[in-house]
Symmetry: C2
Subunit: 245 residues, 2 copies
DNA sequence: CGCGATTTTGAGAGCCGTCAAGATACGTGG
DNA sequence: CCACGTATCTTGACGGCTCTCAAAATCGCG
């Protein structure tokens, strides 16, 4: 299909309040940097775990997840990519990927050539800094996730991810009130939290029984966000404006 | 104490084969960037979990660990910092820290002012790229750690960290044959792996009984590295040369 | 020599995993 | 519109890995 090129300076995402404003010169540089757009279907691989993709992506629309697997098949979901996320930075830096990325919903990706990243560092220090910013953000999310999997109980973990993902979606305007179109299955949650599917299901039931949330089909509703936060012992989150490439 | 300034261009670390070579201009820039040196004692905090340190550090000597804690005191160790590691990048980028760092051994740190990081991005794209490289490396280590804590059994986790840390130390020339001066306590290992101290101890005993390793006092000896790797289902590691600031 | 930190071992409990079976939902083809 | 297959969700029973509690041994150090 012929990619419908959206001009970056007209990109609706740059106008969202959760992203920092860009200067005209930055926008036009990114535009020249952009190779095209890519649409992928749910379940489709965006990067394979062993492969060495020559591309760097920005998420324009949809959800994806990053994961690693052990030789015997056990899978750990590392993080989720939502609009504004960068995919494939590790490959750009190391020339090799050590994790896979798979789409959860229909997605629209902005494609960059990873060779060009060097010209970005040479020509636009402010954008180079943004790339580092995004890498550091991913690191912080992983820190928080690791704290969960290592120290929290099953109930705490579940409360934490759901609370966390809801807030990330909310920042991006994907929610309506306390409602969210939530594309994960319970298996995804289990692989995210290091729990079995069965135990995830039973723990979920307890959270529902306690009126914290409801989840039917793809519709997730958070009825007691503060309760979830308390259960998870989570800190309030700081909502800084972030870069969007 | 008056910091004994080692000139970067004479810094012994830059000559190690695991680090990339730097150009004269890069070295002299880093030198101007350097504020001084800091020595810290074992157990001393380098960055506090809530604090907002104005500094960015490079490890010249010694071991430290990064951690997060829950309000009720449970602690998760996120990663270890060895010579060549960067400490405080998140603070430089976000103006806030979300984890603490504590020294395990006597350390020597190279101190930079985090305000200057911007001039680095403007003046030296190659060094800016190096900062991103290091951030992406930390991300990859966290990915691997999360896979461990989420999916591996106690025995597999223990085999994996010990194997992993031994190799990192080996790269840096801190080992002698299969011997390593290992500064962690079993409590550190437990908090790293998300296990209780007691279970960590018992699992360690099994690895010793199987002749995989021995550990007396601070002396760790790996007798069967390949066995550890097999138990952990770990991939061989790629030893790319990496930047050192 | 004595005290605190660390390591070690045993006993019992509980959180969570595995196994198994059914229920529900959804897309496809007849 | 119904039959059917696949994916997902749900629930119960049972087992085991890991936790907590407790106490003793060992080490490091002033």
């Amino acid at each position: 299909m012929p990619p419908r090129q959206i001009k970056c300076r007209e990109c609706p995402h740059h106008k969202r309040s959760c992203f920092r404003e860009m200067e005209e010169s930055e926008l036009s540089f990114i535009e020249s940097f952009k190779q095209g757009e890519l649409a992928v279907e749910p379940g489709a691989p965006i990067v394979l775990e062993e492969a060495n993709s020559p591309h760097l992506f920005t998420v324009l629309k949809g959800w994806a997840f990053r994961y690693k697997t052990l030789p015997d098949g056990r899978r750990q979901i590392l993080n989720y990519a939502l609009p504004g996320g960068l995919i494939g930075l590790q490959a750009s830096v190391f020339n090799e990927m050590s994790h896979g990325v798979e789409a959860l919903t229909p997605m629209l990706l902005c494609v960059f050539s990873r060779d060009q990243i060097w010209t970005l560092y040479e020509g636009f220090p402010s954008l180079a800094f943004d790339v580092t910013w995004l890498a550091a953000r991913e690191e912080r999310l992983l820190d928080e996730h690791l704290l969960s999997v290592g120290q929290r109980t099953a109930k705490e973990r579940l409360a934490h991810v759901l609370w966390h993902l809801f807030h990330r979606a909310e920042e991006l305007g994907l929610t309506e009130g306390n409602k969210l179109d939530f594309p994960l299955t319970q298996q995804h949650l289990a692989d995210t939290l290091g729990l079995s599917l069965v135990h995830t299901n039973k723990t979920l039931r307890r959270l529902r029984d306690e009126q914290c949330l409801s989840w039917e089909g793809r519709l997730l509703q958070i009825h007691d966000a503060e309760g979830l936060r308390r259960i998870a012992q989570a800190n309030e989150l700081s909502t800084q404006r972030r870069p969007f490439l």
